[in-house]
Symmetry: C3
Subunit: 408 residues, 3 copies
Amino acid sequence: MSTPPPGTGPVQEFLAGLRLVDHHCHGVVTADPSPERFESLITEGEAWPGSGITSFDSPVGVAVRRYCAPVLDLPRHAPAAEYLARRAELGWREVNRRFVSAAGTDVFCVDTGYAPDRLTTPAELADCVVGAAAAYEVVRLESVAESVADEGVEPGEYAAVFRAAAQAAVERPGTVGVKSVAAYRTGFDLDPSRPSDADVTEAARRWLRTHEAAVRTHRPEAPVAHRLDDPVLVRHLLWTAVDLGLPLQLHTGFGDNDIRMHRVDPTHLTDWLHLISGTVPVLLLHCWPYQRQAAYLATVFEQVYLDVGLTLHYVGPARARAILEEALEITPFRKLLYSSDAYGVAEFYQLGAVAFRQGLAALLQDRVGSDDLCLADALRIAAWTGRDNAFRVYGFPERHPTPGSDRA
Amino acid sequence: MSTPPPGTGPVQEFLAGLRLVDHHCHGVVTADPSPERFESLITEGEAWPGSGITSFDSPVGVAVRRYCAPVLDLPRHAPAAEYLARRAELGWREVNRRFVSAAGTDVFCVDTGYAPDRLTTPAELADCVVGAAAAYEVVRLESVAESVADEGVEPGEYAAVFRAAAQAAVERPGTVGVKSVAAYRTGFDLDPSRPSDADVTEAARRWLRTHEAAVRTHRPEAPVAHRLDDPVLVRHLLWTAVDLGLPLQLHTGFGDNDIRMHRVDPTHLTDWLHLISGTVPVLLLHCWPYQRQAAYLATVFEQVYLDVGLTLHYVGPARARAILEEALEITPFRKLLYSSDAYGVAEFYQLGAVAFRQGLAALLQDRVGSDDLCLADALRIAAWTGRDNAFRVYGFPERHPTPGSDRA
Amino acid sequence: MSTPPPGTGPVQEFLAGLRLVDHHCHGVVTADPSPERFESLITEGEAWPGSGITSFDSPVGVAVRRYCAPVLDLPRHAPAAEYLARRAELGWREVNRRFVSAAGTDVFCVDTGYAPDRLTTPAELADCVVGAAAAYEVVRLESVAESVADEGVEPGEYAAVFRAAAQAAVERPGTVGVKSVAAYRTGFDLDPSRPSDADVTEAARRWLRTHEAAVRTHRPEAPVAHRLDDPVLVRHLLWTAVDLGLPLQLHTGFGDNDIRMHRVDPTHLTDWLHLISGTVPVLLLHCWPYQRQAAYLATVFEQVYLDVGLTLHYVGPARARAILEEALEITPFRKLLYSSDAYGVAEFYQLGAVAFRQGLAALLQDRVGSDDLCLADALRIAAWTGRDNAFRVYGFPERHPTPGSDRA
């Protein structure tokens, strides 16, 4: 199950050199995190001070010490305290530069809608790469809806104003997709049908009223007081996403304790996927522990794709292959994409990429070795999943303009 | 995870030579499929022309090129276009003869109730085998019920007429079991109790009325206009199956996009399995991704069995072992059966058999190698799952009459 | 997937010598079981006489013949009949002494609330160990509630009397935790909130009345006539457990056919886990096939822990590593505990320990071999999961008093 070191076969060599497209990630913090903050950034739980449990004593923690320490000139498996000291010594700018460059990624699609921390913009993220990279934006629709509510809107106008705001957001240069975190808000066991105008108005009335108190007691610096969690409005958001016409990313499965895991099995979306047949690509993100369910949907619906971002760095390179084996069990090879889903710490850009390259290479190389796959097919599958499938879905231009930047 | 080539140990040798019982399969098309039709027959999705995605670029597609091409005298990993050209050149009769013979199967149990294509009858399927084979019939009960409705029935007589039609069907020579696709129609989260006569009549009235329009606009050549999807009638069908007294096959898990996967976890059947305790054997088919849930049921209910047909050829020999490992994790060794669930293309008879033989042999041989299992036990487990368990459940006669045929 | 023999590397050596804490187990029968009773004790199903299926023909059965036979001086893979004859020849006292000693366990936490058989007390269990061991008690709260009902209580007093009885039980010397089998009674899709006093009284009235007939027809020797299965009272029991302040063990997943598997996915507990944040540790037991879901909860909730007891001996050493791989995929290393969940037959103390030691050692040794983990970390993870995490959660004293015994 553990993967051999990279570079031991032609597939490993190919994947080690392949420039990736990271079709779903976030920004990275633009400050030196305290040790406790760093620990909270490398877990989907929280830092648990006083508990005797540190995030370093977990699969992702040992993977950081093993795979990230050398990027900071430390020996493999450096102790956590040394790691944090060296990180602080280098400073966040250098740390970010090293890790984001080490990912070997040419294109980033950045979800800009979740930022409890001050994070790099897409352009700033691309600027971390030594050489050149492009960064595109993915618009998180819940953030758009919540901003509409925060700025004040009449219930009867909510649908139109939200639609206009979302349309304006996706028309910004460099925007290539939209995203929903419906998984966090209601889960996927929703009525699949498009809600009527009257239903949306009524739901907006309920939602806006409920959140009035939150708005009144709202600290001015906090970006959002409303939290879109009304089932009718979440459905409306998903249907609005369809109308926008861009690829739609959906958080699926693994996340923090705000998830109700049993409600985010993506096969709950089956009826909705039938209804939206022939419209936008739907990209299921993360997926664990539902990677097989996501693979099923990607196999039977033309417009469905999946990745195992987030999962790969949390399980680490030692277990990435096993996850990819399940994700690829029945999946058409044009349906799996690479993403890091890195957030906050630059380590996750590099660690996600290492886990993906090593895990996929081990899987493919072994199949070449047992003659279940020929080498040409293995290399094609590697290039598709690491890069080309994302080009196909998102239709990036040949040259990669980075929004808000003059590079590219 | 990938399996070594067959023939590298005594378990491999034994399984390579074992004549199988394929306790659940369908017929094969009796025509040369167009390339597009072939592509649609090797996916649980559909052919997606114009999408740039071909069914050959998937685990089952590379497995066909790797394991089926040599049966057509092509090199391993032959390109898809060459494969299809050679297939057309040989013609469907020769192709069917080669692949069905290469499966090494002595007994086929054929579900005859699903035939959107013109397919071989059980006797014709057995006739594909060079040497001798027997073919039995499995009666799909939904097809019986739908034929009853299509032919016209009063709601109050539906139960009796359906029961009589099902009884007549199972009394046909060579019939060894019945099957339900309740998974496709309602899923398994049904009221487990036997519905009352009044409830059945009322449900039949509702169902027959609903489908009247479909019947009126019905093309005469289409076999069935009604689709049995009423929850009361599906329950009634399952209870009628119990009354018939033959082994009952249940579609479970993986299938096309008509499945709502989250509703076909077989553990939803637990209350019903308690109620039917001591009656008929229940055979859970396919099961992926619920093979562990199916294994649990087979462990705790005397009358429950499982297979991983369909799954094995879709994941291919490279991944079959992993699926079998999960299916056999806790399962009594007399509870797992072999099936191909081949439909339409003859390749799947051979590919399912190869995946089963190689995957099971690798699993068992390694356990013999680590001394977790003695060789005698390994060979017994191989013979039970590949052949003997089916004999035990279905009670085939010593000599195998093929219905509608004078062979055997 | 199959594990190498122990002793082939430093992790194997370390784990082979590590004295374990078995944080969840039951007593062992104090009689010589008949062959049929033995067969029924080594399955979560039942003995199925006349079926031609024996429990020995299953993963746990071959594991008993492989790993337990040598403890009884038989060759590996001894036939079942020889095994049973030798077992009877040695007699239960010697058999228990050998297997419980062979587990290499220093501390047992014994669930004393389930005893359809006459079983060893905690002190008697510890006395089986050659050398010294300590045994603590875990109070099964359903048994306490049912005894309260059996002894007679007014509905309005039920809450207070149950609470007092539970309090008295946990104050008995040597009690270190409580357990609930809510999974068996209602599953986990419960209203998470604490029920009101009025709701509890009303539910108690309903429950006590329902079971009156059972009590009246009750054989005097049977310990319990009431079965706590009312959803309000099960919720009340879980909240009472929180009030008691001791670690709470929850049956999760795998068990006999009284489980409705789809209702015991532990992520159904998410809302309740939020509500009890900062109170008692919650230990998810067994977990299969939901080990990934349990791992998710242990990752995102500070107070959640898991084990894969019961599962490990049922899958056997050949498959234990695969289960542990999934259980440890994302789990903080301080969150996994060892348990055998042995019940009835002494074999399961030894077999669970062998499966745990071999499976975990193979996993860790391979990661050391691929340099994904350094040896020092591997040994620490082994010691934590095998022993130290239980000390941390349960706060055992340095010296281990065995309740009702003067040893320790």
